[in-house]
Amino acid sequence: MEPKTKQFNQGAALAIRDEKAQKSLLGLYHGFHAARLRAADATPNWEELRDHARAIKAHTVEHLDYYLAQVEANVAKAGGKVFFAADAAEANKYVVDLAKARGVKVVIKSKSMVSEEMGLNHQFEAAGIEPVETDLGEYVIQLAEETPYHIVAPAIHKSRQDVSELFHRKLGSAPTDKITDLGREARRQLRQKFIQADMGITGANFVVAETGTVVIVTNEGNGRMCTSMPRIHVAITGMEKLVPSMKDLGTFLRLLIRSATGQRITSYVTAVTGPRRSNDEDGPEEFHLVIVDNGRSRLLANPELRESLYCIRCGACLNACPVYRKVGGHAYGWVYPGPIGAIVSPVLTGLGDAKDLPYASSLCGACREACPVRINIPRMLLVLRRELTEGTAYPGQRRVALAERMAMRGYRMAFQGRMFLGLATATGRVVQRPLVRKGRIRRMPPPLSGWTRYRTFPALPKHSFRSRWKRGL
């Protein structure tokens, strides 16, 4: 997918003015966020689970080469095939070529963030193959030709009227204000696609190295449909989704689901190990697992950013984030929004164009507190800010921050020498005069205008604290 990470400020400004978006974002807080807190409270050893999960992820990522080779061998033993794709183009080519070779016309898809990353649907369409998203939220997004608003609830910014209007326009269904009607209409439409489709595509919430098993968590049952009805199943996953053993799944399922929606468990947890066996009554004849790098090895190679690969995509950091809850999912401009997106998107798509993302945080730490695997997101945001200032080797990276470095140098000078500071503030008091209104500066000249575009700045007071102190306050 073409990143639009450059347009963060525009996207954010749009969302902040959009009352409907603000309402649904508030809902995330009172819905998912509150439900997560309740679920964590109701899980007796929650904090230990988090420590345990983090240790498992750290271990797996440190031995990623070992566990990837294990997955490859065990999927093969189960009768499936693993393809390793260095980037989106390789992954797209493998999947689309496979579909063409097997004469596939309709592909049904259960939610897969990686396939969004790859822009797979466009590649299918270009090849004359119809891809159909089957998760209700993703289906709405696909019909609306938008990107997901939230990792867990992709269409949460749409009202029932929006969806009704969309279904009416795209599917010709009768307008309704009942959400049950909308659900029924989606079921009716998608049931036909499930029956027609020859290929099912899913993501993977976890891949168990020891057994070569792909684990998929859903509430609607579309993941089950995609892995039961068509004759070919292709699972697409980022290379970080591995866990060593089945015995780790209890911990991770609890943490993922309870952090994502606050449910004790989702309606369905599906575990797929290869294609159907010869005696099985049903299931796909072919199973393929596509394991995608697509920039993740850059996160892996940087010890300061490596822990971003522990992410289990629960969305809790989005719901907890005061910035995400104002600017919404589209402002982030790529597949992964919110605090974790602000780390992953710049490194995967190029930091140079995404330089607003690491700054889209007040570093309040709510994300880190919410994260079930205790990922230290604020620390990594600071790392990226530092890299932006100093310049690094990420693709598209420019040494952008000359002005910032100059400013910092001036700042240092000012605060190191008392005389210089006194001089600077005295000058400031004079220079600010035409700009001050009611004690606030509302508009500053460039290059400082960026600061005052969306907020005001307190004016320097008539007398400094230091001079008042001297006079005994």
């Binding site: 649904s24 809902g27 031995h63 990623l64 080469d65 990837l68 080779a69 390793f84 260095a86 089957t134 998760d135 209700l136 939220g137 709405v140 992709p154 269409a155 949460i156 969806v163 959400i179 049950t180 909308l182 659900g183 029924r184 989606a186 998608l190 029956i195 057994t211 509430n219 609607e220 049952g221 089950r224 892995t227 039961s228 009805m229 290379m239 060593p244 053993s245 089945m246 015995k247 799944l249 209890g250 399922l253 004790r264 468990i265 309606s267 369905y268 947890v269 599906t270 575990a271 190990t273 159907r276 066996r277 005696n279 099985d280 009554e281 049903d282 299931g283 090895s297 892996l300 190679a301």
Partner: protein, 243 residues
Amino acid sequence: MTTAPRDEFFRTIRQALGHPEGHTPAPSATALGRTRGDVDAGARHVREVMQRDAGPLLAQLAETANQNGWKVLRAPSLDTAADYVRDVVRRLEARSAVRTAHDILNRMKLDLRLADTGVALQVMAQGFGLDRAALRQKAIEADLGITGADYAIAETGSCVLIPRQGVSRLASLVPPVHVAVVERGQVLPSLDDLFTLRRDDFLSGNLGSYMNIISGPSRSADIEYTLITGVHGPGEVHMVLMG
């Protein structure tokens, strides 16, 4: 010399991790966890608990399953269980139903007990004159799917199905209503216990191709956080607990 894309992929990862070229260090034995003997012992312990605590586990499951949206019946006998299924069929005015070949359904004499309801009951298994395509069509047309269970989980209110010969993937998924019959002694305390047993199955070569943990009706809150059921899977689910 060009390297295969697969080798290139691994080379990049080794490089990123600072592992020596061409060498993948194996995790320590302690990190890899328990030995076969430990897994055996763990699995044996879980099986003991399932039998020893069968009563309390059933009671706990009844509660958690109910919270998850299952309609739960505690059935003291095979007859009460069969009567309950009959009532469901009657209420739905079901014309066709599919079922798995789980033995509990034979012991309930389900085919016989449903005969006078007029429902056409198809066993989703080959070797009854129908091939895979025809069976699939039966599932698509069915008003109701009836299955046994392979396990249940008290912690999460779930029924676990492990598709294989005689256990269709579709019977519990495609029809709009699902009835699952759970036997006494099948209930596991927690998710972890399930995976202990499944890991043991794997090491014995019995993992199979598929498993579903089913914990209530198909549901979605994708539009305005409003819960709706029956989006793709069954919107109405019943759990019959034997004993």
